[in-house]
Assembly symmetry: C2
Homo-oligomer: 509 residues x 2
């Protein structure tokens, strides 16, 4: 019995592997599009990606797949039929069932139409942003919100909040209520912290802006990636206008950066951030490739990995005790008179600003909360598209104390809504919060952490994160994983404590 | 009736387009593998390519495709049923039928096994070549020849030569007898020419070898590509250990080169050669993408395009009248005392050598004829694998007057046999011969050709080749196309005349 079930499990795994191979191919096409593709090929690339999307959907919803799945689990009620599976295999089965139900719930016509409209909308959004013309984008946003609501209806459980099904795509297991409650807990303390910081003397960071030769910046990137344990045999570093990481297999996990010739920290942040994403994908079990046990948990957990490296390591004084002398050596001009303390304060400067992706650690979550609140209102129908710019600016004033001078630096700044990716934004803040509880555990488990960082020893972090996160694949959902890895239920406490303690010290609050 | 047939034609075209999109994706994966892919990803890339090959085969042999085809043409006897198709559409139908019959004739199990064995064999061949150990490769070559013979049996018409079906994959419409007869006609005159040249004083070419900075070589490449009319909006230039061109659509046709820091002409030849291939793919009608009317005719015609640019333009004195001063400017050291006449003789130096890809224009076809004769003997069973090295060396002595000191520079030099690509080699020589008849026509139609080349005007050649070759797609098979484009049946005459006249002058014969 158990033997036949193992055989059935193997069959299901093989079917799933096929779809995963197709997804990997699609990722290579996507990577090429952003880094290498000649500009004139964008139309045919669209056709290629559409074809792959169709094949992937077909493979994931095929009668063969359904049959293989039904042999092991009751698709309707979720009861596992198979005997003698390991608990990891049982977790995988539940993920496979959940993914399958989501995939079949969306009619193929709907999926195609969604892809078509959002593809057009991204072009319109780009132009609207360039011309600072919200009215150009508004009718598309209305169409997209209508589609997103339809999508939610296709996917929603009875009686659930319409935003739940959207969020679940990016952060499985997390509800709107969960996010609401977490964000409420951090919002007031962070606004209070920000207001205290604003009342203090601002730190000096002019030396972070100047002339920093591209080639030296690239070479510093290589050093960091090497030290992190990013193995070039399984990845590569390129350049693109928007940095990203893209993996098609643990043996092929690529990243990109962009070099600002006048900004010292931009590329360094990107390298640590994208490197963190890439190490996660590289660290997934290749034997489980194609099974949920070889997949990342969620976008929130993914972001916890990137932000772990970018902020908890890359904005850490102990880390810079080792790297700042190297940085000074690479860029002597402008840094010669700067000491570690000044540098540390400068890279942690807090200042309300308009653009999320350039925000400091304290204001960053407020950018996310603002978007979450607005997109929830849009989905609930409380907010009309035409009133979005005003609502955006009102919240900016309320949380940050500043008002965008136009929609380009306001509600038109992010690509996500034009892609129909409602429910995505919260994961950016969740990632920071998850990273905080992970880091707290790291500090407990490694009493010598600071000393190691001061010596430039960072490669062990990859092994630690592998043991805590990578190796599980999707065996646990986000909050279960954090409980398993940190030994206690997830809360916002480690995150808020960290921000308050760190910035109290920097700003002498 | 005609209207319904047009509708059916459109349906067939759509089915075929699907397969073409998949082939384009596969080409991108292949390009990435040779240029960008991290080395550790080779195993998963193999899986991705295998998956794509399966999908392509499935699409091309699907019941849907068969039905769409049957509505227009009797698949068994090739009689066109549809009324009111254009003559171009009728040609396309015949190609579709031919391709279909070839695709369904090979059982899927056979295709997979062939892919598996040749994939392994390529690794073994690489090692055998590196270690100069033919015995290592021999058992694989035996297996491959056995598979190739099976393939021939699957594909062969009754009573045909077993090599015919192999050749037909690369040069549709051409038979073993055709090639045999053409090669016999050129072999003796070329050997005679070579022997005369050998009896004369050799030309000086030491100044082509020295130190030529990479960056300047690359920048000279860019100039040439721009002047040829290779539009970077639809392609790109990269580096790989073996140069190649790879197209996934007329809007995405990429090439690679390699830079030898001590050889001035290597990269220039590659650029003109691969550029010629790429211009052909870029010049195919994008509206016909997916139909035979949007495909290249054959490998021989493809090679006629690359060799047209590499040899007929790139080894032409009028061309260098314009470009040699630019070359001297880019690489003053070593060239300052060289005049155009010396340079022209040097780049056309004839010398028997062991490696095909480095051969001059006169010895090149002999390398191909040698391989053709040997592979025909292997397929006919007249030659045993174990006797191959001896047979190779014997022919080298006979045609070139030299003997390889080992198999690395002998029968292990080319990748083709390890890939199972029997029937491929003849197309290299056919390409040169086709190019000669095309060039003869060009000279007739453009009395000012020399003057134009002397002024560096080469962009018009792309338009001329478009009118003569690109625009037809596969409307005609190779020899029909040459007749259509040059106004007379194809013969070897233009080719032999060209070689004799040119080298008589250079060597004062």
């Amino acid at each position: 019995m158990a033997k036949r079930d193992q055989e059935n499990y193997r069959k299901l795994f093989e079917k799933s592997y096929e779809a995963k191979i197709l997804e990997g191919i699609s990722n290579i096409l996507g990577w090429d599009q952003e880094t290498m593709m000649p500009e004139g090929a964008s139309a045919i690339r669209g056709e290629q990606l559409k074809t792959m999307a169709g094949l992937i959907h077909k493979s994931k919803t095929s009668p063969d797949f359904k049959e293989a799945l039904s042999n092991l689990i009751d698709i309707k009620n979720g009861k596992i039929i198979a005997k003698g599976l390991s608990k990891e295999q049982e977790s995988a089965l539940k993920c496979w069932r959940k993914d399958y139900l989501r995939d079949v719930a969306l009619p193929e016509e709907f999926v195609k139409n969604f892809a078509k409209i959002t593809s057009e909308a991204q072009v319109v959004w780009r132009n609207a942003k360039k011309d600072n013309n919200f009215k150009l984008f508004a009718p598309y946003l209305e169409k997209i919100i209508d589609l997103v609501k339809q999508k939610s209806r296709h996917l929603s459980k009875k009686g659930s909040h319409p935003y739940d099904a959207l969020l679940d795509e990016y952060e499985p297991g997390m509800t709107t209520e969960d996010v609401d409650s977490l964000f409420k807990k951090i919002k007031d303390p962070i606004i209070a912290l920000l207001n205290k910081i604003k009342s203090k003397k601002q730190v000096k960071d002019d030396f972070l802006h100047g002339k920093f030769p591209d080639s030296k910046q690239v070479s510093f990137s290589q050093t960091l990636l090497d030290d992190m344990g990013y193995d070039k045999a399984y990845g590569r570093l390129d350049f693109s206008s928007h940095p990203f990481s893209s993996s098609s297999h643990p043996t092929d996990s690529r990243i990109t950066t962009r070099i600002h010739p006048t900004s010292l920290m931009s590329n360094i942040s990107v390298i640590l951030h994208e490197g963190g994403h890439a190490l996660y994908e590289m660290g997934l079990d290749p034997k489980e490739y194609g099974s949920p046990l070889g997949q990342a948990v969620s976008l929130g957990i993914h972001e916890s990995q990137s932000r772990f490296w970018e902020t908890r390591i890359g904005k850490n004084k102990a880390f810079w005790k080792h790297y700042f002398p190297l940085l000074k050596k690479a860029f002597p001009k402008g840094l010669e008179k700067i000491d570690l303390d000044l540098f540390y304060k400068a890279i942690n400067k807090v200042e309300p600003s308009f653009i999320r992706v350039e925000a400091d650690e304290v204001t960053y979550p407020l950018h996310v909360i603002l978007r979450f609140e607005l997109e929830k209102d849009l989905i609930e129908g409380k907010l009309k598209v035409k009133d979005l710019p005003k609502a955006w600016n009102k919240k900016m004033k309320e949380y940050f104390g500043i008002t965008p001078k136009n929609d380009q630096e306001g509600c038109l700044q992010d690509v996500h809504w034009s892609m129909g990716a409602f429910g995505y934004f919260p994961t950016y803040a969740l990632g920071n919060m998850y990273a905080a509880q992970l880091f707290e555990t790291l500090e407990k488990e490694q009493p010598n952490l600071e000393k190691k960082l001061e010596k430039g020893q960072i490669a062990f972090l990859k092994e630690w994160l592998k043991a805590k996160v990578y190796r599980y694949g999707r065996q646990f959902e986000s909050l279960e994983l954090l409980k398993e890895s940190t030994g206690k239920p997830f809360t916002e406490k480690a995150y808020v404590d960290y921000l308050q303690k760190k910035y109290k010290e920097i700003y002498g609050l």
